[in-house]
Amino acid sequence: MPKLQTVGLGKRFGDLDVLRGIDVTVPDGAFVAIVGPSGCGKTSFLRIVAGLEPQSAGQVLIDGVKVVGPGADRGFVFQNDNLLPWRTVLANAMIGPEIGGRADAAARARTAALLRLVGLAGFENYYPRQLSGGMRQRVNLARALAIDPRILLMDEPFSALDAQTREIMQTELLRIWEQGRKTALFVTHQIDEAVYLADQVLVFARRPGRIREIVPINLPRPRPLSIKRTPQFVALVDHIWGAIEEDVRASVFNAET
């Protein structure tokens, strides 16, 4: 049984047809990236899977069970870190267990271990304003992992970072992901990021948002950053770019996304 499945998923905001007929099947432990032009409904798709937004048509199944709302089986990593400024790093990462009523010593120990995993050892008692953007996104990731979700949902988590930090975070994310091999959905508008991270890239088209193409990425793991310069990698990026170029141009020239 697939870990995650969407069947005929559709979303309308009033007259706006945001998503239509999205059929996705994600096997357990797969890393799936979603790319597409701005405004094609990537965030909406992820929010529906997270149970934060009701769909207008179709359904989302996790282990064959219909999603009806948010749940501890899914961890969301946000585009803006969305950290609570009055909480320390550890207290921020503990928010999930706390909301679930499981903020015991064991959960604290596990969360502290996760903070070490994401490279924040020694920063447990810092406040968000004392951290760099990259470190805040690490907290964002640790916070999602702290509820030990079955599926990790990530919405352009590195888009606010500078190019170098972003590449480091990509390798770090893969390193962390290799430890648990959780099923992952990763939204990005950077094609090379999608190819570097994923087993499979879903290319979205816009107006209405739908799947244009599913591109399997058969690059070996673990992947060093240097893989980005191999002909195979470049060919995959070129191929995906070809699939969305027209759409991206349209979205750039129709400023009203």
């Binding site: 948010p70 501890a72 009055w86 928010i95 679930g100």
Partner: protein, 249 residues
């Protein structure tokens, strides 16, 4: 080292010197103006005779009780306003109306109702302090970030959890700002309440000194009030730095 702090100190010293000179040379008439040195002497004299402490005790009690009552009621009123749309719609015109009204003008009425004792002053203070506190509390609760609400919802937070873990803490800087605003208004309430009739208190000291054309004592009362206002506000700024450090930068 601290050019800004020095500038402030120098400006205050220069101002006091000018004042001293003006009241000795230009308006050498204690019926109109008292020099800083005379005021200082008046304060020491009042303190020695114990009269100052009697006034401070009376005014301090009026202020403290009124301020605490108004703070508690104001925060509760703010919570009531923020909690429910219908309730907000029903209460908002009253709160906004009373906030805009110079409720200080009701002081004589409060004295008619409750006499010239402590209760009339407490009522004046409460009427002045409660509304800014309520309005700030409500505004603070209403500005809860939608992104952060969504973050909590993604972890399955209930409405109650969202309120306790997000809305309330993010409203605290606003609530503190309202309480800080209330200090000045509360002190005004004490003085004006006492102007309309009182047996003791700093406002009464000022009125009584004015009637006796005793400028040093009048200014002594004003200076003690100013010091109380500055001191309390500084305390609050200190509390703010401790309690809500994330708003400082």
């Amino acid at each position: 080292m601290h050019p800004r702090r020095h500038a402030g100190l120098i400006s205050v010293l220069a101002g006091l010197t000018l004042w001293e000179l003006a009241s000795r040379v230009l308006i050498d008439n204690t019926l109109f103006l008292a020099a800083p040195s005379q005021i200082a002497r008046a304060i020491i004299g009042l303190a020695r005779s114990g009269e100052l402490w009697r006034h401070v005790w009376v005014s301090g009690r009026e202020f403290a009780i009124g301020y605490v009552v108004a703070s508690v009621l104001g925060i509760l009123l703010g919570l009531a306003l923020a909690g429910n749309e219908v309730r907000r719609a029903a209460l908002q015109p009253w709160v906004s109306g009373f906030y805009a009204t110079p409720t200080i003008a009701l002081a004589p009425l409060f004295i008619l109702w409750t006499g010239i004792g402590i209760w009339s002053k407490i009522l004046v203070v409460v009427s002045l302090v409660i509304f800014p506190v309520a309005i700030n509390t409500e505004a603070g609760l209403r500005t809860t970030s939608a992104r952060l609400v969504e973050m909590l919802r993604s972890f399955g937070a209930t409405r109650r959890q969202i309120f306790l873990k997000l809305s309330l803490p993010s409203a605290i800087p606003f609530i503190l700002a309202g309480l800080k605003l209330g200090i000045g208004r509360g002190l005004i309430g004490v003085v004006v309440g006492e102007l309309f009739g009182a047996r003791a208190g700093l406002g009464q000291l000022i009125t009584q000194s004015a009637e006796a054309f005793d400028m040093p004592d009048l200014f002594a009362g004003v200076v003690v009030l100013a010091a109380a206002g500055i001191g309390l506000t500084a305390c609050f700024s200190w509390i703010e730095r401790r309690a809500v450090p994330w708003t400082q930068d």
